[in-house]
């Protein structure tokens, strides 16, 4: 039962990802990506990580993708940004290499040289309170640094997009 | 007094900073400050003269040792010391620098402060090379000398200065990188987490650190490349004439006077001490290169029309003697080589000075632009003659003492022999040919309209040449104190090269 649910979600996620890459319209791409993010969020739930699933939806599917859509609209570059192709031969190479990567990963996963310990009984490790305790004790410093990082990113984004005055074009 | 060496090494760099950054320093005073500063360094180095109590010439081991851990993770020490091999080269450096700076009084008129700063910084680098006993520290000083020289030629040089500097820099740098590789290889192979040269040499002599024969030879060659380019040994010499022709007079003086000696010193200190077996193996081959260089440099010097180029090629020839003496691998040869390095520094430095003096007056270095200087500039010509004769190797002057000692070493060396000495002596004949040929055309002959107006040597110029000439005579007539101070160290070195060599 669970495995069936996993397979459906996985296929949905993969399908959304493929569609994202193949779409000619950037807006479509963004929407496919949102779908993909939802799929991943569902998988997080399956993995006993409910808090992360929520974060995934709010931050990724919500904030980040909205930002993407904003920019796409702002630049008006939904379509027609693909005329110039400097590396026409790169697509087949990329596909072959990608396939190679998947095969390699699969081989390594399912025919491991050393036996892998079996999956342990899941605990409620993904509960928000457990995460929060960990985050605010052991990982306090990284957490604080992350906040600084966000602030810097914020300022950086503002500075970069500010209209430069005449005469000092970058 | 155990910080004396550090003081001598770092004081010039401090001087460089002062000259460069002191507010409100005019060009005129900058020259004087640099001069006084370098003189102070010279005075500080005077106690090093063997026999004055600080440095004991009768001891073979390193003296005035300063050793402080520096980068302890890699076992790098700040390790300065001096022994009989380096003592005269250190004194040569501190002695020549004030004279060189004196020569900037006339020769340099643009960006004076930067020039003086580079000169002083260069002095730090050169002294560091002679004094560092830690391979890593040595390498740093070694490369550091490149930088000021690069700018000295590149900014104040002649018309083709960019070509000359780039060539000089790349050539020496490329070769030095090989040396760096060898240094790292030695460090790794030894596995004692130390770059200390004396310790490594000690381990090699006690067979605690045994290098594979083939590997030892390769590492020898890596060191050899760096030093051979610097010396420069034929056929690695082609950067030298370009660098010399383009460099301003003070640059040439310091280049010929001290920088070339870094190579010869490196041969003795590193190749001979670290790789006795490879030294014995390669000695004949290097001897052949040296002899070719002696004759080739002299021969080609004869065809030059530019006086400075002539002197530059003569350097190739003369430094060939130094290499020959070193790779005689016996005490006499090495004695001669070390003294000859000092001699060459004095004589060729002086030669570049005298060339610079007439260049200042005539703004030409073409031999054909001169004639009859003996008549219009008698004092100048008298001193020039003395210096030229010293370069030719006239007995009673310094050049002869060095060359003859080298020849004796070469002849009696089990690795070289009479053929090498005979060909070396041909170089001595040729030295007379090209230098007298130059003398005949520049100093002798009729006074032309252009040369008639040339005034004789000024007091300033006299003050540059007099100390050099005094040393030329002193070393020529009484070189014994110079030899005695290096005797013990050189004998110990030769003993390390193998039992065969201790005898002669």
């Amino acid at each position: 039962m669970e495995i069936a649910f996993f397979i459906i979600t996985a296929l949905l996620t993969i399908g959304a990802a493929v569609a994202m890459v193949l779409s000619h319209n950037a807006v479509h791409s963004a929407l496919w990506l949102v779908l993909n993010f939802f799929g991943v969020a569902v998988l997080y739930l399956l993995l006993n990580a409910p808090f992360l699933a929520m974060v995934q939806i709010t931050v990724y599917a919500g904030a980040i993708m909205v930002l993407f859509l904003f920019v796409i609209m702002l630049l008006g570059s939904e379509q027609g940004q693909e005329e110039v192709n400097g590396l026409p031969w790169q697509t087949p190479v990329a596909l072959v290499m990608g396939l190679l990567l998947v095969v390699m990963a699969g081989y390594a996963l399912f025919f491991p040289g050393t036996p892998v310990p079996t999956t342990q009984t899941p605990n409620e490790i993904g509960a928000p309170d457990i995460l929060a305790r960990k985050l605010f004790s052991t990982y306090l410093l990284p957490f604080e640094i992350t906040s600084v990082l966000l602030l810097v990113a914020l300022i950086g984004a503002v500075v970069l997009t500010m209209k430069s005055r005449e005469g000092d074009r970058v | 007094m155990n910080f004396l060496l550090s003081l001598i090494v770092w004081l010039p760099l401090l001087g460089a900073l002062v000259v460069l950054f002191a507010p409100g320093l005019s060009d005129h005073t900058a020259k004087r400050v640099a001069l006084v500063w370098s003189l102070a360094v010279f005075v500080l180095s005077l106690p090093l003269i063997p026999g004055l109590g600080v440095f004991d010439g009768a001891r073979a081991e390193l003296q005035l040792v300063e050793r402080v851990p520096w980068i302890s993770a890699f076992g790098v020490d700040y390790f300065l010391a001096v022994d009989g091999i380096s003592i005269w080269l250190v004194l040569l450096t501190t002695f020549l620098t004030p004279i060189t700076i004196l020569s900037t009084f006339d020769a340099i008129n643009t960006r004076v402060r930067a020039f003086e700063a580079f000169m002083l910084a260069l002095q730090t680098g050169m002294l560091g090379v002679f004094l560092a006993q830690d391979l890593f520290l040595f390498y740093i000083f070694w490369e550091f000398t490149l930088v000021p020289m690069y700018f000295l030629i590149g900014i104040w040089g002649g018309a083709r200065r960019i070509y000359a500097t780039v060539k000089f820099f790349l050539y020496t740098f490329a070769a030095s990188v090989l040396m760096l590789l060898a240094i790292i290889a030695l460090y790794v192979l030894w596995g004692q987490n130390s770059f200390s040269l004396p310790d490594m040499v000690q381990a090699i002599r006690n067979n605690q650190f045994v290098l594979d024969q083939n590997l030892g030879r390769w590492l020898f060659l890596a060191f050899f490349a760096a030093f051979a380019v610097k010396v420069p040994l034929w056929p690695f010499h082609s950067w030298l004439p370009d660098a010399h022709t383009e460099a301003p007079t003070p640059g040439s003086v310091i280049l010929a006077g001290v920088l070339l000696k870094l190579g010869g010193y490196g041969f003795i200190r590193f190749n001979l001490q670290l790789f006795p077996e490879a030294s014995r193996f390669f000695a004949p081959a290097i001897g052949v290169l040296a002899v070719i260089g002696i004759i080739y440099g002299a021969w080609i010097a004869y065809a030059q029309t530019d006086i400075k180029k002539l002197v530059a090629y003569s350097s190739v020839s003369h430094m060939g003697f130094v290499v020959l003496g070193i790779f005689a691998l016996n005490p006499i040869g090495i004695h001669g080589a070390i003294l000859q390095m000092v001699n060459h520094g004095i004589s060729t430095g002086a030669l570049f000075l005298i060339v610079g003096m007439i260049y200042e007056r005539r703004h030409s270095r073409e031999i054909d632009a001169f004639g009859g200087l003996w008549r219009v500039m008698p004092v100048y010509t008298f001193l020039s003659l003395l210096i030229i004769m010293s370069s030719i190797g006239l007995p009673a002057l310094n050049g002869f003492v060095g060359e003859a000692t080298i020849m004796f070493g070469t002849f009696s060396s089990p690795f070289l022999g009479w053929e090498f000495a005979a060909f070396g002596l041909i170089g001595v004949i040729l030295a007379a040919v090209y230098l007298l040929w130059m003398f005949r055309r520049v100093m002798m002959g009729d006074v032309t309209e252009a040369t008639a107006k040339m005034r004789d040597i000024s007091r300033l110029e006299l003050s540059m040449l007099i100390p050099l000439v005094a040393l030329i005579l002193l070393i020529g007539l009484y070189p014994t104190p110079f030899f005695r101070a290096m005797n013990e160290s050189v004998t110990a070195l030769a003993n390390g090269l193998g039992p065969v060599l201790a005898a002669r």
């Binding site: - | 016996n330 005490p331 006239l394 000495a421």
Partner: protein, 647 residues
């Protein structure tokens, strides 16, 4: 007594050195400089005389042990050379010759150089020369001898180039120095070999052990050779350079471009004889090798003959004397090669006196004739310069080997040795050639006297005058010397033989003093007189025009042309050595160095640049292609680890 000598010997050298220093730094006036220089040299002579007297007073066996070291000159590990002097009978006579003749020449120079542009410099060189020459003969080891050897070479260079405005002076000075250097090359090589064997360069170490050299075999250019031969051969090269022997003789005639008194001192009386001195000093080495001693004789005889023949064909008054000097040096070298060392030194001494006289006489003529040197423009100067003529005649007779004059005795001893035999055997052919050469000597000297002093003045454009007393007095003294100097080794008395005996005892080279060979002497003298008479008949009787061609040219044809052109030796050297040398230098400098060696360097630089241009094309600027490469790298790394773990 020895202590006194120990103070006197350095003084001999220091005095002329002091003169040179004073003149360099304090004196600006030519005449005063001359006084100082003469005084310095004269004082050295007086001191030398005192030292000589002291030495003569010592017991026989102690005379070779006056050895003093002033200081350690070179002390480089095993190489240990003192700055030390050895005052033995051989050095003593050399010192007297150098300072004695030197003083007279100094005095003469005061007058001769009165109108020179740079008299002070001249006297400095002259003093310096005397000092260097004294070091050469007084040294107690070979390296110090070499110092003097090259020192005199330098002074010779400076004096020849004294009037450097003249082209021939410039070229001659350099030629002299370089040719001497080629000779020094040989000498230095000999020193190296000596040191290699003995571990020392001191005479005191080498000579007693010289016999070892004969046994040692070495492999070198000439194949397996006795070490003694190799060393002696190398020394012979040095001798050939310094004493102007074949093949390095061409510099000496050119050296006449220097002031005449300098030629008298350096290129006649003293410096050029130092090669002979070297052989005599090293007799214990030469005695070990018959082959090279023979070679020395042949070189000497050949030089003597060739130079004498050239002297016949010269018109320049100094040139004749120069070739005569070369010829006489050949006599000495031949004698030294035969092992007739005393004879060589005897001739060296007498020749020093009478050749100095002849040169000074020539100088007086040139001075009086207002710098005319071409003998064809002279003639009849006897009346204008009676003193010069008389003294010149004394020199001529001495040189021609006419009895009672000095040259007769010394030359005869050499020829006598050739026939009488030495430890190397007899040299009859060489002896015969030497007799012919002696006749040629008489011929060219008679020719010279006839052309210069006899007959009528051919070129009347100048008014010849006798020189001032300061020049004629030295001439008189030397003339007296030339007349009576034979006494120093007069047959039957053998002063010199006995005096030098201790020196040769070291190498066991003492020979029975040669007794006078009357038939031989008669033959020689008759031949010389006949040659002189013929020359007088040819040149002294007729009135020639001032640009005449020598009458002998008619009879001797190409041979005379050879005489005139010095047997084309200079041209041969020019084509075979000088030109190829210059061409190679130009080739090296224009082609090999910039295109070959530097070409390799720049080629390497170009190669790097080329590779860089190639690699630059990989930098497409497309971020996606960089990513692809990155991705490939990731796959490669993953693959590597994957396989590593699977295995």
């Amino acid at each position: 007594m020895e202590e006194t000598l120990f103070t006197l010997i350095p003084a001999i050298i220091v005095l002329p050195l002091l003169g040179a220093l004073i003149n360099t730094f304090l004196i600006r006036d030519g005449r005063r400089a001359g006084m100082v220089a003469s005084l310095a040299c004269g004082a050295a002579f007086v001191v030398g005389l005192a030292a000589f007297a002291l030495l003569a007073g010592l017991p026989h066996e102690e005379q070779t042990h006056i050895d003093l070291t002033l200081w350690q000159w070179i002390d480089a590990g095993p190489l240990d050379v003192p700055f030390g002097f050895l005052f033995d009978p051989l050095s003593a006579v050399m010192v007297l010759l150098i300072t004695g003749v030197g003083s007279l020449i100094h005095v003469f120079s005061i007058g001769y150089m009165a109108h020179d542009a740079r008299p002070v410099r001249y006297f400095v060189y002259l003093n310096l020369f005397v000092a260097a020459m004294l070091i050469l003969v007084l040294a107690n080891n070979y390296l110090l001898l070499f110092l003097g050897w090259e020192g005199v070479g330098l002074c010779s260079y400076l004096l020849i180039g004294h009037s450097f405005e003249r082209k021939e002076a410039r070229y001659a000075s350099m030629k002299a120095f370089v040719m001497n250097r080629i000779g020094d090359f040989g000498l230095m090589l000999a020193l190296l070999a000596l040191f290699q064997h003995f571990g020392s360069l001191n005479y005191g170490v080498i000579f007693p052990r010289a016999a070892e050299l004969a046994g040692q075999q070495i492999n070198w250019v000439l194949g397996p050779t006795a070490l003694a031969s190799a060393i002696a051969f190398c020394m012979l090269i040095g001798v050939s350079g310094k004493s102007a022997q074949i093949p390095l003789w061409t510099w000496l005639p050119d050296a006449m471009a220097g002031p005449t008194p300098a030629s008298a001192l350096i290129h006649a009386a003293t410096m050029v004889t130092s090669g002979v001195y070297l052989i005599v000093r090293s007799h214990s080495i030469f005695l070990q090798t018959q082959a090279i001693s023979n070679l020395t004789v042949y070189v000497g005889v050949a030089t003597a003959f060739v130079a004498a023949s050239i002297a016949i064909g010269q018109y320049d008054i100094k040139r004749v004397l120069a070739f005569s000097t070369v010829s006489q040096l050949g006599f000495m070298v031949a004698a030294a090669g035969m092992g007739a060392y005393t004879a060589a030194i005897f001739h060296l001494l007498t020749h020093g006196v009478f050749k100095a006289l002849l040169f000074l006489g020539a100088g007086s003529v040139i001075h009086g004739a207002h710098d005319v040197q071409d003998m064809r423009r002279m003639g009849g100067l006897r009346s204008a310069m009676p003193t010069t003529f008389l003294t010149y005649m004394a020199g001529t007779l001495a040189l021609s080997g006419i009895p009672i004059w000095a040259g007769f005795f010394s030359k005869d001893e050499i020829i006598g040795s050739a026939f009488h035999g030495t430890r190397f055997g007899t040299y009859p052919v060489s002896g015969t050639i030497l007799i012919i050469t002696a006749a040629l000597t008489a011929f060219y000297m008679a020719r010279q006297v006839s052309l210069v002093f006899l007959g009528q003045q051919r070129d009347t454009s100048y008014h010849a005058h006798e020189s001032e007393p300061i020049m004629t007095i030295p001439l008189w003294i030397l003339a007296v010397g030339s007349t009576i100097a034979g006494i120093i080794n007069f047959p039957g008395l053998h002063f010199l033989d006995h005096f030098l005996e201790p020196v040769f005892e070291v190498g066991h080279a003492v020979q029975e003093p040669l007794e006078f060979n009357i038939p031989l002497a008669i033959i020689t003298v008759v031949l010389a007189l006949a040659a002189g008479w013929v020359a007088y008949q040819v040149y002294g009787k007729r009135q020639w025009k001032k640009t005449f061609r020598d009458p002998l040219a008619r009879y001797l044809g190409v041979f005379f042309e050879g005489f005139e052109q010095r047997w084309y030796a200079d041209d041969v050297y020019d084509t075979m050595v000088v030109r190829p040398f210059k061409a190679t230098a130009s080739f090296l400098s224009r082609i090999l160095d910039p295109l070959g060696i530097d070409g390799l360097v720049n080629g390497a630089a170009w190669l790097v640049g080329f590779g860089g241009r190639g690699l630059r094309r990989a930098q497409t600027g497309y971020v996606r292609s960089y990513t692809l490469v990155f991705f490939l790298g990731v796959i490669a790394v993953l693959g590597y680890f994957g396989f590593a773990t699977v295995r």
